[in-house]
Symmetry: D3
Subunit: 244 residues, 6 copies
Amino acid sequence: MPFILSPDPARRPRVLIINPNATEAFTEGIRGTLRADVELDFYTAPAAHAPASIESATDEIVSAAACLSELRAHVDKWDGFVVACFSAHPLVPALRELSAAPAVGILEASLLMGSTLGGRVGILTTSPRWEPLLEGEIAALGLAGKNAAGVVSSGLAVLDLEELPRASVIKVLCTAAADVLQDRRGADVIVLGCAGMAGLEDAVGEACQPGLVVLDPVRCGLEMCLGLIRMGARTSKVGLYAPA
Amino acid sequence: MPFILSPDPARRPRVLIINPNATEAFTEGIRGTLRADVELDFYTAPAAHAPASIESATDEIVSAAACLSELRAHVDKWDGFVVACFSAHPLVPALRELSAAPAVGILEASLLMGSTLGGRVGILTTSPRWEPLLEGEIAALGLAGKNAAGVVSSGLAVLDLEELPRASVIKVLCTAAADVLQDRRGADVIVLGCAGMAGLEDAVGEACQPGLVVLDPVRCGLEMCLGLIRMGARTSKVGLYAPA
Amino acid sequence: MPFILSPDPARRPRVLIINPNATEAFTEGIRGTLRADVELDFYTAPAAHAPASIESATDEIVSAAACLSELRAHVDKWDGFVVACFSAHPLVPALRELSAAPAVGILEASLLMGSTLGGRVGILTTSPRWEPLLEGEIAALGLAGKNAAGVVSSGLAVLDLEELPRASVIKVLCTAAADVLQDRRGADVIVLGCAGMAGLEDAVGEACQPGLVVLDPVRCGLEMCLGLIRMGARTSKVGLYAPA
Amino acid sequence: MPFILSPDPARRPRVLIINPNATEAFTEGIRGTLRADVELDFYTAPAAHAPASIESATDEIVSAAACLSELRAHVDKWDGFVVACFSAHPLVPALRELSAAPAVGILEASLLMGSTLGGRVGILTTSPRWEPLLEGEIAALGLAGKNAAGVVSSGLAVLDLEELPRASVIKVLCTAAADVLQDRRGADVIVLGCAGMAGLEDAVGEACQPGLVVLDPVRCGLEMCLGLIRMGARTSKVGLYAPA
Amino acid sequence: MPFILSPDPARRPRVLIINPNATEAFTEGIRGTLRADVELDFYTAPAAHAPASIESATDEIVSAAACLSELRAHVDKWDGFVVACFSAHPLVPALRELSAAPAVGILEASLLMGSTLGGRVGILTTSPRWEPLLEGEIAALGLAGKNAAGVVSSGLAVLDLEELPRASVIKVLCTAAADVLQDRRGADVIVLGCAGMAGLEDAVGEACQPGLVVLDPVRCGLEMCLGLIRMGARTSKVGLYAPA
Amino acid sequence: MPFILSPDPARRPRVLIINPNATEAFTEGIRGTLRADVELDFYTAPAAHAPASIESATDEIVSAAACLSELRAHVDKWDGFVVACFSAHPLVPALRELSAAPAVGILEASLLMGSTLGGRVGILTTSPRWEPLLEGEIAALGLAGKNAAGVVSSGLAVLDLEELPRASVIKVLCTAAADVLQDRRGADVIVLGCAGMAGLEDAVGEACQPGLVVLDPVRCGLEMCLGLIRMGARTSKVGLYAPA
């Protein structure tokens, strides 16, 4: 079991950023936004088995199984994992069972970190399909109390984020953020609810009231993971995440 | 989309009982306990891809993906589905997305039905590994309030249920049921928390105080599914379970 | 104590459908919608003591006491009971104390069954008076989490359902269902929240988005009760429902 | 509608203390413990229709209906009502519907007032039968969070409180209070959970750690009711307690 | 420790009403609305150290520390304390630690008492700044379930209540009460959410539907405190409020 | 307002670690355990005004006010704040109101981070006095669901941690961790619940089952704060933490 008992301060942590869908452009988008002072590896799910985007519970299972079959034998290569799908993706608990290196999901990390920055965190998601799905998953994570402003759809499909002109994407996201999450729901912190929105936090923030905070969940996931690694923290092996 | 709009009263409903692990003996054990006046088909997950028993979140994903790859193209053959794994098995929401025929999990069905029969439902599970796993899943299903007496491990492994002498199995289960769930936790209804315990409800009931109720979750799942079918109920296609 | 220990598969279950108000027309309305392959008896509360319709906590007590005084001595005649008032009617726990035959309320049964068919169940009730009453009772049943889309009044009085022209009734119900529950509250499953709406589920469903599910709670109650009977399940006699 | 719009400061408030069981000795026991500077009337439920003690949901209904049939026409005689049964007695919401004078139950009042005096309120009840009944009713009142130390049975039947020698009663209550509620459950406030325990709070308090608080719920109910009356507060007539 | 073990019925209780901000006019406003048949002392926080009004968590700390430094040595002079700031003011738990005389906050008292008068209590506060602050504090007090209609800002600053013409103040409050809390949120009981609104309950009530109840929280706090004193109740000294 | 809009990657973040009690030895103990690759400043509350240790709600107020009076004018010197008292210390929300630099409490940070490492986080505190105090504060932070194994006292006073021989301290902590939190409460992650326990996590971990995780909350607080700073995250200024 790859316990990281005494992190070597001279060694830079090595983290695997997992894009569990099969769209390379998403992985590239994420890569461009992350800091350069740690060793980051990037993984994209195999196009032969995983969906191009994740839009349902079925997609999550297929995606998780496709990633597991490739990653399972290699988990001891990394000091930590970030699962870069904005959901309660089942790969997160699976990685916690398979490794003692910290494994973090970006939905969870962004709600945990966002809850220290304001009183009403809201989530800006893609299609309306994600509203009930995310609300259910957030409740299942025990984090409904940390999402007081709820989940609001922008109406964009996940793949629209890659395919539409950037200016159109930003315009649609800004409207949903400012008109619905800020004005109607009273959000003081907004989380961009899709890994495909990476890098858009400043643009969305400019559409909102000055002082409102917009968070990129992938960066939250990476920072949470690095913090755990730097403390030498590892996943517990005696309870919920004991090996099977 | 296979909507069952007007159930033909002359036709007997056809239900698929899914054992999502690869152990045929479990499927046989279940088959022996179910009523004979409906059309029941039985499915066992493929040994090449699915685990022999389900003991972790990782097992659940692998099991669900293995079943999905075989069943996905054929879901329109049945009027309803029972997923006979005592967990929040991810196949349940996936089937609800893929079909409008009712899909029921046995953990969910037994807690829902048990909650109409007493005030403190308790669950008798197998190994200690399942205690935190089930408690987390029950909370995620929004059913913690329907499991007031909690989850108690008998200490038996899932496969012990098939491999140990029946008398030994019963003795161990009876002790955990009577001493822990009934006496210490105050359960008035006990759910047998593993499909592999099918058929043992009378034996366990005899070890408890007369009047205490012991439920077989597979029979709960089947009756809940049949009730939904007989009403002509179907899974909603406009919200949480909309097709992807 | 009338335990139903070994249900005779050759004998058809006998269920008492209880209309706890004194309006015979309601009982007749219900009778017309229920399946014919079990033995159903129907009971209407006595006009001398029970209210014509149930509209308050006071009505519930008076209705329950009136029914209890007549039914108490005869509860061993039936294999199960359905209390056909859409509320947390106090007759339900009373019957569970007085008999071991399953006793089911239609509010409870429809929320439990509806929660397996979608993610946001909503309730369409009669007068605005019922909104706070039902919300409180649903919370008291521990089912608030299964009623995410809430309770919406159609504005009709209970007795309007019998007295107004059917087309007017349907029109009013359809507007509340489609405009409020579906569009504003995001319901994917709608429960008709009054026994007097029996038989209207198809008409209301046609006003909504295709794929949205509309449930008749009396049929839910009957199917839940039959499922429990067919399993041989009985009410626990050692805890919450022990005889006094 | 008997609104008490401007309480006359010169007039002493008149409160009806309702013992909803048919045992006069209970009423007398309560009367002996209450303050003398307000007008108190005492009512005992009719022996012909109400139970001698209340031990079940069935008893609550029968008791409530018996009281309602006698009191309904006379509710405008009082400035407030205290229902002196330690339960979520259904007479409380019924009185709130029938009158605008404040109506208070003693379970509710003692938990509300006790929650201002400590962090972990516990309840000392009579027979084990009451443990699941009270836990369910406290949750239904939305007060589970105000009963952190739970409900503990002394093993005494309700009528034992009248019939056994006082010294024996006190000894049994003291043991349950000190050994279970104080030591094992960590209660810092103990509520005597039966109107029949009126007047025993000092004796029980002496068995506990100095500084622990023991409350008589009937006195809580009376003080809460008087406070509401003295403010000129009345039950709202536009929502939950609107007249039917 | 100043236990009030046997309240002398001949002695009138002596209560300290604490205005924890430094604005004397608020103290005067409160004094004018309270009953005259008990001994009331009034305290205003020192202008040198406390804020003129309380508008933030920072203000609460500064205000509480300023009051504590003056009051700490004198707490045994009173039979009870009312902290007349509509918040979860930290002075309340501090007084409970420092004295056994009951200490009551007006937010807490008004929600507890209001919950016996209706089903949906709503709060009318001052500036929008207080909406998230109060919602968080009410949840922290475990009273979110007793504030179903939520917190609504009138838009007025706290000091506006003293400085604007009374007619303008009333007009603004009435609009928020009737249009938002009553009509949109379905409140049946409205609590005036600032000590500075003392005496305005009748004016606001007249703007609402007849039968809706409007409560002055300072009067609630005083009556709750007097009820506790008259019972001889004291703060528990063995758990949450044990002396440090 | 000191917004940290574009963190300079070349500049090392500067964080203030605040020990809000007046015992320098605690500050020194903490300093010895923290990483050296960021700029850390350390602050101890003034002995003239703050308590030597924090043991009550009263202490928290006095401590917070003492710190605020010294720090208030200087908050723009730091990129982030860690309040190193294991409580819901009121300085945390005050700093969030006074600055946009992230402010983190160590109780909150350790529960948030611990919840990603296991299923049942437990807390090992000092004296029994802290059990009800912490349970209340954790609920108030909305984190009760992240503390499934509860709070357990070691019986040591806060100052014992400095004054008793280290071996004795460790022995007592190990017994409480292993016998109570691990064995009886089923904790899989244990948080050391006092800043004075800094540096003892390995010693406590050795007394527990291999694979169980023990966390030092100050290190959690620092890593959470650094993660927020490195993302450029700032406290929201439009809702709960808007300036007064």
